[in-house]
Symmetry: C2
Subunit: 340 residues, 2 copies
DNA sequence: TCGGTTTACGAAATCGGTTTCGTTTCGAGT
DNA sequence: ACTCGAAACGAAACCGATTTCGTAAACCGA
């Protein structure tokens, strides 16, 4: 018997397909302990597995969650994927993933491809440029944004508490005796996340009456390094503190500093976002604002599940959930780069 | 009209559902240019999208490729995922991903979950311990192994040309004047990849008449670092060359060396597998055996497609493809850590 | 013992495409 | 003009589950 169907199981167990279906989905309409056992035995013996396609067709539910990631090279993304995978599996869902490579066209294409595939919901770590399409998608199926918001803001978002993390890093640098602080960003990055961190940085400075500014590195080119060199030279010996706005910028910073020697120039303190494994090692350890990726992933799936349940439960457009912004606290890893 | 069905399109275009289906799958049974245009117009106007579940049910093809990755934190894996995503998308397929986290139990669970979901084929980067289950799966649907082989070897495998890469690194270190070479490995890693590299290393040494050995770091514990320290001390000043067998071991190595200072001890040369972004920066640049992840991914999907086509085309068990081993050449990135 | 309600389960419709098979139409060859 | 084969298309079966609706049995209090 190559492939068994539910009716074969039903026949063997002496019940109807409907009853087997009820067993498979352990439905409220309870069955005798005896029939349950009989069905279980047959399934066990035959190794029967229901065909997902048939199930999907009738129930219009796939137990699939679509995930669109902008940049998988970013450890934040890969950690997130692992977390999402685990959280989804815990709910019996699988992940369909698409990598946009930070290309808006690919992102848009992934969006329609995943929706066409029939995913129950969508997790989007957008690279920007598709705000309307994403908002439209959110109108047709459950969508939760990951880390990066869209313009009109009518979509659920899960993100780190960036303002607190910025404050934490500023604390570190101030405690290390810095008189002046710079936040390093990248020219091409105009994401809401970057903006939020930059704003928080400015707020923190003014709140404490510290001097400082946001410095843009021009995408790894000589310009950026030159500007950075200048910044450092201008303030060398004057207790300058640097914050890399994300892991990528930190990499650029490291490359630039490498030209000056393997250890930090005297009086220079640095800190960064995103906890890469190498942060333990570089400069004897770099103080890091670490995001709680596992919890973020869990919240994303949790929220998505809520929406999916609402969609499949309620009849009309009755109970539309209001869009929600969920902030997950991260924490500061204190390391040698901000010791006194 | 909430959701259109194929029969609605057919009605609007004045043809039968069968014809619309033929149009959607542009079947050999050609149709008049006129009907084709009429159908196209209706679909364009209504924005009709066929339901994947229905299609899957009847055709028992999902255009889904299952991917099981052992360790997504490894940049090799995330690069691979990006490549697979692109190659699959180019063939109109989506990816279902599962992350085993190097846990054999999770891997086994992912295996059944993806198969139950009805994927057309499976890409497995196994963490080991499921060789029989994987071989069994390969008997039921197309499977291509990624990087890591299974015991009995009856399954397709795509991997880097590890022997050549090892030879390349030995070349580098020899050219840098090393008199003695050590390959650093991790105790817990008994993968075929590690073994292959270790064997190639031994072969290269004897071929050139160089002294050297394989040193096992005990999983990041003090033992490993101690043993490493001893190794280095024993040979310091004697032109020792170190090869980290993979990125993780290189990280451990870096941590250990960090205790000795930010630059390499005099006369010590190092090289590693796996090109992380940080390899440019650490020790002024670390010579690296880089794998061609994009090509590997492309080959994997290519091979999987071949198998999928065979399965859906041939009637019986007629044309079984023989298992194939595909080696993709990588290349050596020469950097400062192996300069004379 | 009897109406009424719950519980356990079966028959059959249904989801929305694809595929098989048959019919009609069209064009070419003689 | 007639036959024949291929091309274009339609009718209906089909994929394998879920779900609705209905019914018989079991239960239950009065």
């Amino acid at each position: 018997m190559a492939q068994m169907r539910i009716k074969d199981i039903a026949a063997e167990a002496g019940v109807s397909p409907a009853t087997v279906s009820r067993y498979l989905n352990n439905r409220p309409g309870q069955m005798t302990e005896e029939t349950r056992a009989r069905i279980a035995a047959v399934i066990e013996r035959t190794g029967y597995r229901p065909r997902a396609a048939a199930r999907n067709l009738r129930s219009s539910r796939t137990n699939l969650i679509g995930v669109i990631l902008a940049d998988i090279a970013n450890p934040f993304s890969s950690a997130m994927l692992e977390g999402l995978s685990a959280s989804a599996a815990a709910r019996g869902c699988s992940l369909m993933t698409a990598i946009s490579g930070s290309d808006p066209a690919k992102e848009a294409e992934s969006l329609t491809r995943l929706i066409d595939a029939g995913v129950d919901g969508l997790v989007v770590n957008t690279c920007g440029g598709n705000d309307e399409a994403i908002a439209a998608a959110a109108g047709r199926l459950p969508v939760v944004l990951l880390d990066r918001d869209v313009a009109d803001g009518g979509v659920d978002l899960v993100t780190s508490n960036n303002r607190e993390l910025v404050a934490g890093l500023v604390d570190e640098l101030a405690a290390a005796g810095c008189e002046r602080l710079c936040m390093l960003t990248e020219a091409s990055d105009d994401s809401p996340v970057r903006r939020e961190r930059a704003e928080a940085f400015a707020d923190e400075l003014s709140r404490r009456g510290l001097a400082g500014e946001v410095v843009t590195l021009a995408d790894g080119g000589a310009t950026g390094v030159g500007r950075l060199d200048k910044t450092i030279r201008d303030y060398a010996g004057k207790r300058l503190g640097l914050i890399a706005v994300n892991g990528l910028v930190f990499l650029r910073l490291t490359e630039a500093l490498a030209q000056l020697g393997p250890s930090l120039p005297a009086g220079l303190k640095i800190a960064t976002f995103d906890d890469y494994p190498w942060n333990h090692v570089l400069f004897g350890g770099v103080t890091t604002a670490a995001q709680d990726t596992l919890t973020i992933a869990e919240r994303v799936v949790e929220r998505l599940s809520e929406r999916i349940d609402v969609v499949t439960t309620t009849v009309g457009e009755a109970a539309k959930l209001a869009p929600k912004r969920i902030e997950v606290p991260g924490h500061i890893e204190h390391r040698a780069s901000t010791s006194r």
